[in-house]
Structure formats: structure tokens, C-alpha cells
Subunit: 292 residues, 2 copies
């Protein structure tokens, strides 16, 4: 059973499953586990790991349009190296500072493989779900796509410093708050833009028509890619960029833009479900990285 | 570096470290990571694992005198066995039901070793800390001690069904709420009574005088122990019973007792710090299980 099959199995058991974060009693709660083998390439510093792991959970809070309240992390490693642990905590603290929330610590454990489990908590009176997109709405994405795809390549090539920089990202809490009053549906792009569109389409029972030249490809991925098509492919399918993908009525776009400094690219439109998901008129496969 | 040394190191970085749970903005947050090798003996069912892992975090919420709001868990295993996963979720759901809170799901991950990271969230207007015990206060413990010590022995002897039962416990949320308005200090007994007393003594700058015949030794540990001294030793040092250890002014004991159905044993008194920690007049070593 892969992760998606297991998640489907859980939906019957858990009312809150199926969105970026659970909502209970006005609180938004999300948890993620990351580990060395699958999530932190050789060369990832513990500072970057702390930043990225806590940031990934904060991104889920952002995807609900919530403000962030606090984050915690459990840290497990084969040995407790004091400097490594402090670096992790500093990274976790710094990403929380960036979005005006508090890192309040966690648990220590010993484990053969470096593993971290992070939880972020937020508040939202009216959280934005994945369902709710309506034909005619515009599909938007914050920031740029492909930073993590570029970082992975740069780790491989031994450019660890630049790769670590690209691996640290700003959780889109502020942009999520700006989008929240207007967005009809929202999620983060952690599994890649292509998969995000498929997940939004399934939750909202809609289609999408996207134009590829509107996809905001990060400069870093252009630098490492083998031409434009490869850059687009990496930017749209690798994922882990933790940008927000949202659907917004056309007449609300200017209000969103004036409420945030983060760039917002309009990729295309929400269509009727029978349209399916198209890019430049061709069907977009449900490809992406199934994150373990 | 062992866990305690690492925790000391973190105290400089994290204002919220050093209690059972962090408190931010009226919210109580705690996270724990547990895994096969150290926390789930052979024979532990996934149902029990889900119950126990989520219960351990709820116990930290209880130790702050908070009401529980929600719990999440990240679940990582070498393969996603659907039945095992559902059993885990059912156990997690059931322990949440027991204390009137919501299990709202989590994350799935693949990992060589079965590993779970749980987070529980609660609310407390006036959380009870480990500091605050005053000489003259009575030292109390909820329920009985030694269930987990007995379970471990029974797993070893192949009595898995009974061991699983003993491994599932009721998080003391209700008792914690009853104690909260009166307790001067509180924590849970997850590292054993002996270590809990040392931790409370350090946080509150006090001593304790305990009488061994007041320790509520669970019948299960008497059954497997080699006589009374062995039973007392196992009940006080093994830990993982997730009972509450609290200090309460003598004149508030009846109010606490009338507010909860959970048994409350008075073990002795808080003393001045130079008394140290004594059991029947003899010094109690800071022994216990340092949980990874």
C-alpha cells in the first residue's frame, strides 16, 4: 500500500483527514515526519533541516489561511551531538521568527536514522479547504516553483551552501492570510503543482485550464535544467516548494495582491469537471513525488 | 550526550523547555516520539501502540492541569499494512474518546523501524508547573504505579494479551483538572516516581519525605515481583505509568478528592530543600528510566 492508498483508507476513520491540516475548535493542527534517507540529501545542515521541517508544517497551516500560533519538533538521531541539536533548534526558531510564531521545543529520542516530526498549530475562524473552487475562478500560485528541485540537483553536484539556501523557504503564512478572505480553495504545493491541481480538482469536483508560460519557474531551476521544457517539468512535478496554490474569483485578485508583498501568478482558470486538467490544451498527468 | 544533558543544553534556547508541555497563548502543546526498539516490546499490538503513544502526549497535557483539545500522530513503518495502520488509528481514537478529545489524524511516512510521533494540544488558563511546591504541602499520586513494569515482564513471559491491557492507560486529564485549582506543582510519572520527585524538587527547590507503605503499588506488579521490596522498586523506578504526581496543600485534599473519581494517594510531605528526598527517612537515589 502506498501513502495515497493508506490515506484513503484513513478517510473512513478520520473526519478531519483529507486537507492540509485538521481543524478542531478553531484550531488548525498539522504534523509531518521527515527523515534523512528521503528528505535531507547529503550536505543538508541541521540548521536547514530544522528550518525546513518546521517550515513544512507551517506551510500546511498557511494553506488553511490560518495564522500560526506555535510549532514543536521531536528530534531523533543516533547520538546527541550538541552542536547539531542546537543548529536544528536555531533553524526551527528562525523559521518561526520569520512568520511571527513561537517554536516551543519538543522531544528528544535516539534513532538509527536522523528523523524529525514537527507539528504546527494555527488559528483560523474560517479555514480555506481544498474543496470550493468554482468554474471561472482564477488559479494562482505564490512565489516561484522549482527551488527544491534545483537544490536537490545542487546537493548532487556538491554545491551544498547554495543548495541549503534554496532548501530554506518562507512559509506562506502572510500570503495565506491575504488569500483567505477571497480564496475558494487552497492547498500547498508540497507534492508538486501537477499533483496539487489534481488534488484540488478531486476535492472541488472541477477541472483546470493552465497556461504553461504563466508558471513562475524559479531562476535556480533554469540554471540547472536542460532547457525550458526540463525546467518546466522540474518546476511543476518535483514539489516540496511549499508555495500556495489557490483559486480566487477574478474580481478579488487585486484585493489579494494589495494585501501581500508575495508575488502571485495567475496560471489559468478553474473549468467544469469534464474539462479535466489541461496545460496549453493538453491533458496534465497526475505526476509528482509521493512524499513518504 | 544523554537526553538530560541535551535537554539542559536546550533550556538556554527555549523559554518553554523544562516542563511537561509548552504553554503559549493559553495553549498547552507537547510532542513525543516513540519507536519499536525502545518503547514497544515484542507482542505490543498496533492498537495498543496507538493508544499508548497518543496517551503519553495526553498525559503531558494532563500534567499541566489542562483540558485536552486535540491529538495528532505521525505514523512511520517499513510498509503500510492496512490492518496495522487502522488498528493504530483505532487505538489513538479510543484513547482520545476516553478523555473527551479528538484524534484528528496525522502523517504517514516510511521508516525502517516502526516509529510514531504524537502531539497533544490542550487549553489551560492557569497551567500547573513543576515549580511551586511549598514545604508542608502533601505529595500525591493518582491511580497506581507499576502497571508498565508489570506489562514489560508479562511481554517477556509471552502473556501478550494481559500485557497489552496493562500497557493501555487512562490519561489523567480529568484528575489533572480536579487537581489544577489546588496543586502547587505537578508533573506526570513517565520517568518513574523517584525521578519525578527529583525533578519536582529541582524545579521547586524543595525536599520530600515519603513513606513507602503509602505508595500505591499496582496488583499486577505484585504478581510478577519477587517479594515486596522488588514490587516497590519496580513500581517507583520503572516509570511509564503516566500517573500524576502533584503537591497539594493539606487543606485542599478533600476538595480535590470530591472533584475526581480517580484514587489519590498521599505519599508524604514537601520539606525544606536541605532535607533532600527521603523514603522512610533514607535518601532516595535519582534512579529511573531515561526514556529515549
Amino acid at each position: 500500500m502506498d501513502e495515497r492508498a493508506a490515506l484513503r483508507l484513513l478517510e473512513g476513520e478520520l473526519a478531519a483527514a483529507g486537507d492540509d491540516a485538521a481543524v478542531v475548535d478553531g484550531l488548525v493542527v498539522t504534523t509531518d515526519m521527515l527523515h534523512d534517507r528521503t528528505d535531507f540529501p547529503d550536505g543538508t545542515t541541521r540548521y536547514t533541516a530544522g528550518w525546513r521541517a518546521v517550515g513544512a508544517s507551517l506551510s500546511d497551516v498557511a494553506a488553511m489561511g490560518a495564522e500560526a500560533t506555535a510549532a514543536v519538533a521531536a528530534y531523533a538521531a543516533p547520538t546527541f551531538d550538541g552542536e547539531e541539536l542546537l543548529d536544528f533548534v536555531r533553524g526551527a526558531n528562525d523559521v518561526c521568527d520569520r512568520v511571527d510564531t513561537e517554536y516551543v521545543g519538543g522531544d528528544l529520542d535516539s534513532h538509527e536514522e536522523f528523523t524529525t516530526a514537527t507539528t504546527a498549530i494555527g488559528r483560523a475562524d474560517d479555514p480555506v479547504r481544498r474543496s470550493g473552487a468554482r468554474p471561472g475562478d482564477r488559479v494562482c500560485v505564490t512565489g516561484t516553483l522549482g527551488r527544491s528541485a534545483a537544490a536537490l540537483e545542487l546537493f548532487d553536484r556538491g554545491h551544498a551552501e547554495r543548495a541549503n539556501e534554496l532548501f530554506r523557504f518562507e512559509p506562506r503564512i502572510a500570503a495565506g492570510r491575504a488569500l483567505a478572505p477571497h480564496a475558494s480553495a487552497m492547498m500547498d504545493s508540497s507534492d508538486g503543482l501537477a499533483r496539487s491541481l489534481h488534488q484540488l480538482a478531486e476535492a472541488s469536483d472541477c477541472g483546470f485550464a493552465i497556461e504553461s508560460d504563466r508558471v513562475p519557474i524559479d531562476d535556480a531551476v533554469r540554471e540547472i535544467a536542460d532547457g525550458d521544457d526540463d525546467a518546466l517539468e522540474r518546476a511543476t512535478t518535483f514539489g516540496e516548494d511549499f508555495e500556495l496554490v489557490a483559486t480566487v474569483p477574478a474580481d478579488a485578485l487585486s484585493a489579494v495582491r494589495s494585501a501581500t508583498d508575495v508575488s502571485l501568478s495567475v496560471l489559468g482558470r478553474v473549468r467544469e469537471p469534464d474539462h479535466g486538467i489541461s496545460v496549453d490544451g493538453e491533458s496534465l498527468a497526475d505526476r509528482g513525488y509521493t512524499h513518504g
